[in-house]
């Protein structure tokens, strides 16, 4: 009872302000003397698909096992981010060359290739992308990418959370507070990336916390620490963005014109991500939305009404309690 009661009367107002321009989310969330905004830069060009991030995350956060099913989606048997998978490594087999790489394979041209979204039971081969395009006989690359909660600058999950379970930390990250969440599930459809999810048999919402507890003592998140090739880099977001810019320029020079940053732009639909990526192909190829927009952009008016109602109610309660005391 206490949880629901304590959790419920949070007022999420003023989203319009928060949604404009480059912002300092931690300050806007009441963290006056906060540390610099921290985040992830996942450089997928050096990912070896080992999934150490998935396991290190699970060990640290005591996340349940997420099903023992072979999917047929290349070496990806975790399928996607969810309540029980906070890091997810995608595997994409493509009939496309990786600049400068000699793949050494030779396949007959075929029109049977299927896209990465094809259900494996309908696929004649490991789903490859792009679909339909037979590619050259010797073309092959195997892209791997570790996905994670984006810790959006404008986080819709946080906007819609009625209990205050979802909060912005002093590091600018977004976390779910498991002792507050009442399992209402509003946050789930709100996430433009489909990250946050309800746990079966528990009902509460779960996602990456960017290891908030570890950050609080100056340690790095478990996934970044484990990553054998430093594909997952953790640090001050501004520094990561500079590093990422250099890296993407380097890859362009090395003949990878498709290399691009994703979630790195503060002017994108979510105000930029706290966890952004260097991809070697279009976001859709990795199962990422090409142009994510914070789903609460049109919500504030509605929420203002709800919020004001709650505020007046809460004010009355507080006033009554304190008035009596003084």
């Amino acid at each position: 009872m206490a949880k629901a009661f304590l959790g419920s009367p949070v007022l999420r107002v003023g989203l319009d302000e928060a949604l404009r321009g480059d912002t300092d989310p931690a300050t806007l969330s009441g963290h006056a003397d906060h540390p610099p905004r921290m985040g992830f830069f996942t450089d997928t060009s050096v990912c070896i698909g080992c999934k150490a991030c998935e396991v290190a995350c699970k060990e640290w956060n005591a996340i349940p096992e997420d099903g023992l099913t072979l999917t047929g989606m290349s070496y990806d048997n975790s399928v996607g981010l969810g309540a029980d998978t906070w890091r997810h490594v995608a595997f994409i087999e493509q009939r496309k060359p990786l600049a400068g790489q000699v793949a050494g394979v030779h396949h007959e041209p075929t029109g049977q290739l299927v896209g990465s979204g094809t259900p494996p039971e309908q696929a004649t081969v490991t789903p490859t992308t792009p679909a339909g395009d037979g590619g050259e006989p010797g073309d092959l690359r195997w892209l791997m990418s570790s996905d994670v909660c984006k810790h959006c600058t404008h986080a819709a999950c946080l906007d819609v959370c009625p209990t205050g379970s979802l909060v912005r930390t002093e590091f600018g990250t977004v976390i779910v507070q498991e002792d507050v969440c009442n399992g209402c599930g509003y946050c789930i459809p709100a996430c433009p990336y489909g990250v946050i999810d309800q746990r079966e048999g528990d009902g509460r919402a779960w996602k990456c916390t960017l290891c908030y507890d570890r950050l609080s003592v100056g340690a790095e998140p478990a996934c970044a620490k484990a990553c054998p090739t430093d594909s997952i880099q953790f640090g001050v977001l501004d520094e990561l963005r500079e590093r990422a810019d250099r890296r993407v320029r380097q890859l362009h020079e090395e003949g990878l014109p498709d290399a691009r940053l994703y979630g790195h732009d503060p002017d994108d639909g979510v105000g930029g991500d706290g966890a952004f990526f260097l991809l070697l192909d279009a976001p859709e190829v990795y199962g990422l939305p090409p142009d994510p927009v914070v789903s609460t952009r049109d919500l504030p008016d509605m929420w203002k009404h709800v919020g004001l109602a709650a505020l007046s109610l809460a004010g009355m309660v507080v006033g009554a309690l304190f008035g009596r005391r003084s």
């Binding site: 304590l6 959790g7 009367p9 949070v10 007022l11 999420r12 107002v13 003023g14 928060a18 931690a26 806007l28 969330s29 009441g30 963290h31 006056a32 080992c50 999934k51 150490a52 998935e54 396991v55 290190a56 060990e59 640290w60 946080l158 205050g164 379970s165 909060v167 912005r168 930390t169 002093e170 976390i175 507070q177 498991e178 002792d179 507050v180 908030y212 507890d213 570890r214 609080s216 003592v217 340690a219 478990a222 620490k225 484990a226 990553c227 054998p228 709650a310 505020l311 809460a314 004010g315 507080v318 309690l321 304190f322 005391r325």
Partner: protein, 188 residues
């Protein structure tokens, strides 16, 4: 919890009185969030170790609380691994603390259809008898006129995740007992 504390812990109160008028951050912190301390910090000891899986030899730090392993992660000091681990190394805590481990001696009698329990001391004593009997039965003083001083009555096959000290005692004891069929994964 006193009333004032109760009220002050109420997010909306903090929201109205603190730096977080929007209730998006500090005002909404729960007690757990505010008091969160990672178990790597509260551990009573950190033990230096080495990953037991492959032969890269990654350094591990093993965190212990109340006689239990609470976390295993890479040792950043290691010049080989620099604090990193692969998925197997990262799963070490589950390997050593998980329910997949069998922790009791089991015994299957000849022609038996199921396991039975057996206490460890008895098992050790019976095994010693069995080894001595097989050693005797398979003993060869000589073969084709050349002294062999050995037994073919029992054999050993070891994994290669054993410690050097363990391998040393295997070789020392079984060789002294005359066994020559002593092998390990290194060939396999």
């Amino acid at each position: 919890m006193g009333l004032r504390t109760f009220i002050e812990s109420w997010p909306v109160y903090r929201q109205l009185t603190g730096d977080d008028p929007l209730g998006r951050g500090s005002a909404s912190y729960s007690r757990t969030t505010k008091t969160l301390v990672p178990r790597t910090v509260t551990a009573e000891k950190v033990v230096k170790s080495i990953c037991p899986y492959c032969a890269v030899g990654c350094g591990q730090n093993v965190y212990v609380q109340d006689g239990q392993v609470t976390q295993v992660e890479g040792d950043p000091d290691s010049p080989v691994s620099r604090g990193r681990l692969c998925p197997k190394g990262a799963a070490t805590k589950q390997l050593v603390t998980g329910s997949g481990r069998q922790t009791r001696v089991l015994y299957r009698r000849p022609h038996g259809t199921d396991w039975e329990e057996l206490d460890l001391d008895t098992a050790m004593d019976v095994i010693a008898d069995r080894v001595l009997e097989s050693r005797r039965a398979g003993w060869q003083d000589e073969v084709d006129g050349a002294r062999t001083n050995r037994t073919l009555g029992f054999a050993h096959l070891g994994g290669a995740t054993l410690d050097n000290e363990e391998n040393y005692l295997i070789k020392k004891l079984f060789t002294a007992m005359g066994a020559v069929q002593i092998e390990n994964q290194a060939r396999i």
